[in-house]
């Protein structure tokens, strides 16, 4: 049983038993991931028919941060889409807060996808960025659309209007996820990215296992972040409501004082 002091500590933050379990799982999983990625997975090398050794060598280990970042960005934006549809259907704050929280996390991982992709691209493709690559450009557009979504949410407006406007932007923005994901197949001659590596099983077993493990750790991290961000967003609304109520009380008090003087 928790003591009153412990209970007060829990109530003074966005933590709960679920977030503590998820947090420790993330930390333990990350430690294992680092060990797998750097000590177990072999470097990427292939021998050509001419006998030359080619491949990504140790740069392949960047896959374990880049690919999970991209999947978590898709997850965040996909969840924003579902929550926005649910908001437009049921019009409750819960769904609006869920859409906002997941979009913000999606943007964090979307930016990380672009940054880690650029860092991985330099040793692999000898370029930091390629404007002619459809996967790169559509990913950039997707992230910019959701940065715009977050910016629109900061424009002062009635909460229902703001939620409805944001939900519509999310629906439009999410359509781009399909284009980003399928771009390497639809425009295969206009991208440096290879086609669906996982589906075609073009990678070694150790690499595939570690990548799957990295995705699992990423999903636990996503759940942990989402719980905390949702609760923080909920508290932001509570504080806004309290401030409005305080302002109303103050205004009424001033009005009654003015009336007494008259």
């Amino acid at each position: 049983m928790s003591s009153p002091a412990n209970r007060a500590a829990v109530l003074d933050s966005t933590s709960s038993r679920a977030t503590r379990v998820l947090g420790w799982l993330t930390l333990a999983g990350f430690a294992v991931l680092v060990a797998l990625a750097f000590a177990w997975v072999p470097e990427d090398t292939r021998i050509t028919e001419q006998g030359d050794v080619v491949g990504q060598f140790d740069a392949v280990r960047l896959m374990f941060v880049h690919v999970p970042s991209a999947i978590l960005a898709y997850t965040g934006f996909g969840l924003t889409f579902l929550a926005s549809v649910a908001y437009l259907r049921w019009r409750t704050d819960w769904w609006d807060i869920m859409a906002h929280s997941s979009a913000e996390i999606g943007v964090v991982f979307g930016v990380l996808t672009l940054v880690t992709g650029s860092i991985w691209g330099r040793p692999t493709w000898q370029t930091w960025w390629e404007w002619g690559d459809v996967r790169l450009v559509t990913t950039l557009v997707m992230v910019l659309v959701f940065i715009g979504y977050l910016a629109v949410r900061r424009i002062p407006a009635d909460s229902a209007v703001q939620a409805r406007r944001s939900a519509v932007i999310a629906l439009v923005g999410t359509a781009n996820i399909v284009i980003v994901n399928r771009s390497v197949d639809w425009w295969e001659n206009r991208t440096l990215h290879q086609q669906s590596t996982l589906i075609a099983r073009k990678i070694r077993d150790e690499t595939l296992f570690t990548l799957s493990f990295a995705l699992a750790v990423g999903m636990v991290l996503f759940a942990w972040l989402l719980l905390h961000r949702f609760r923080t967003a909920y508290l932001e609304r509570q504080v806004e409501e309290l401030e409005v109520q305080e302002a109303l009380v103050q205004r009424r008090a001033e009005a009654s004082l003015g009336g007494d003087r008259a």
Partner: protein, 48 residues
């Protein structure tokens, strides 16, 4: 090991960004919790 600089940059930036964002969320949640009365510090259900 090859490409050490790229590996440090890629992994380092990822870890630093996630830690910075998580830290910001936790600190903001903690400071907001103190401003909200205990009876309003409950997490909502989808129907709310």
């Amino acid at each position: 090991m090859t490409h050490v600089g790229y590996l440090i940059a890629g992994w380092g930036i990822s870890v630093a960004a996630v830690l910075a964002y998580a830290g910001w969320v936790l600190v903001r949640g903690r400071s907001l919790s103190r401003r909200v009365p205990e009876n309003r510090r409950r997490w909502m259900m989808p129907g709310d």
